[in-house]
Point group: C2
């Protein structure tokens, strides 16, 4: 029996996440019949390799989705808002990696290790959560299941690749300028299109995405709202402080949690986290074992370490959560959703 | 009337903090009669400039403190343990910037903006707190005074200069190697003398100082214990996660606090923090105004921004606190203590 294969479109193929989508589809041997690489008009015509073949990137239009089974979108919210409904009309199922539909009550927001079954409620679009949310909820799910979860306070340590390939280039250029004793030119970060830009090289910027009226950034509100939606619990108290840092790959998170169950030992917590799908325990302080962004880059798992009990608050625990923001935080989670659509006949 | 002047010794003059001590004594026009620069045997003989004059660094011995009024120690805990009592015997008052005496109940641990009057209880030694503690308690003191403070959860973003000049060189060398596509050699960080070393360039290391038996690092326990001692309240719940990051100067801190008073507005909080001694409010999200490590380097103040109310917890607030770890975090706080000794006749 031949395995069924599918016509797949990648929208935003030339971007930082798009490239990782192709790598992941290749590495995971996704059953592709035809692959269509789509982009903005500006990037159309570019050639990209996939499994040894050369593909010419086409401009994404409503007609691009004719005959497509699965469309992986990662070209910005405005592109998704315009083209995802067109793709659905043509019969494709869209996995959208932008914030366009994440909080839409009609659209499931999915991290397969946490809420895979939500996928089957889709009406053509499934949203991929924000990168910093995905890795956090993957580490929180086993805690919620086993001990109950009432509170989360997270401070993030986020890589520049989350802001796209131009931000990666800005960090590289500024870092070299700094080492050469030259002036730093900031033209992009913290937020492309915002009023002011600040150097990221050898610095820390406590702003990711634009500010909301409540003085939280949109990134912080994404972590707060998406966590509640994915974990199916609007009562969990969640707060977030999101910080952009001068490294290229992987987000790290200092996460404080309070659980419902009393007298949970850190050994129990470690055991539960260590057994969770997609999560790897790296926690041995005596031997200086803990996750770091550099060591986690290029890997699909969510790594958790520094697990310890709060010294004052019964039921309070601290974790350090690290994952490749372009893989589990974006491309790999999207491809996982696509795999689940096929495996469960939910297309 | 001539202002009185004093014989001052700087122990560890050639280190990262020692150099900042000299800069600060100069900038603040500290009333120096004779300046003695002391170091380990290894660095003795080195020449250093102060106010246009050249000084030859001498090896620190018990005899070095003959006739010294004020000795500023910053040459590591073992040097302080050995020589601070000798300096006191010779009649000097020691301001010690190591962890050697900080938790000694006989030794005041002082941030002048917070607990200046503790200085007068000294028996010859006054301890300068850990850098990451100093800037945090400076920002918390006005909150404690005005609203009562019951809880603190901090995640730090700490510069490599806190680990000394060799760590600064390691970040510089590794950063250049990374940009050149070469392998990174880690020989020092996270902790000189610990078993394993990891690259800091374009990375984040969730270990500062060695691990204690409770799986917290010594740096984390310093923040927890010192905060309670300086703020004179063992009932404040404090927890800390300390992270070393790839920048040279200034520590940043994501601080969550709970206050006793109900219905405090963020405007009230901003007003109280903005009026506090040694603290500068930089908080205007609409105009992207918030403190960053690069912008705070070389300045003596503690900068506070991103002040906002927790979205779930009544009495919960979030702050972002940044300060130059070598100035307010070390040299400037030590010199402030010395100034207070003189001004208040507490020598």
């Amino acid at each position: 029996m031949t395995q069924q294969s599918y016509n797949v479109a990648v929208v935003g193929a030339t971007g930082a996440v798009g490239e990782k989508m192709l790598e992941t589809l290749d590495n995971k041997n996704f059953p592709i019949k035809e692959l269509h690489l789509l982009s903005s008009k500006r990037s159309a015509g570019k050639e990209m390799e996939f499994k040894g073949e050369t593909y010419v990137v086409q401009e994404a239009t409503p007609e691009s989705f004719e005959g497509i089974d699965i469309a992986l979108f990662s070209a910005g919210g405005s592109v998704s808002k315009k083209l995802a409904p067109e793709a659905v009309k043509k019969g494709a199922v869209v996995v959208d990696n932008t914030s366009a539909y994440r909080m839409d009550p009609e659209v499931p927001l999915v991290v397969p290790e946490v809420n895979e079954s939500d996928i089957q409620t889709h009406n053509g679009i499934i949203a991929n959560p924000n990168c910093s949310t995905i890795q956090m909820v993957a580490s929180l799910k086993p805690i919620q299941d086993e001990f109950g979860l009432s509170r989360v306070i997270v401070s993030t340590y986020q890589a520049v690749s989350g802001a796209g390939t131009e931000a990666v280039e800005e960090l590289r250029t500024q870092s070299q300028a700094f080492l050469d004793g030259e002036d730093l030119h900031a033209e992009l970060l913290p937020v492309s299109g915002d009023k002011h830009h600040y150097p990221i090289a050898f610095n820390a910027l406590p702003q990711i995405d634009t500010f909301e009226d409540n003085d939280y950034t949109f990134e912080e509100m994404k972590m707060i709202n998406e966590t509640k939606k994915i974990m199916h619990d609007n009562e969990i108290k969640v707060s977030a402080t999101c910080v952009r840092l001068p490294f290229f790959t992987s987000h790290a998170e200092s996460v404080y949690v309070e659980v419902d169950k009393t007298d949970v030992t850190t050994d129990e917590l470690k055991q539960v986290i260590g057994q969770a799908d997609g999560v790897e325990l790296e926690d041995d302080p005596a031997n200086q074992v803990y996750p770091t962004p550099l060591a986690s880059a290029g890997r699909s798992e969510v790594f958790v370490g520094r697990i310890r009990k709060d010294l004052d608050v019964e039921n309070g625990y601290h974790l350090w959560v690290v994952s490749d923001n372009l893989l589990k935080g974006a491309a790999w989670n999207s491809v996982q959703i696509a795999e689940s659509l096929i495996k469960n006949n939910w297309l």
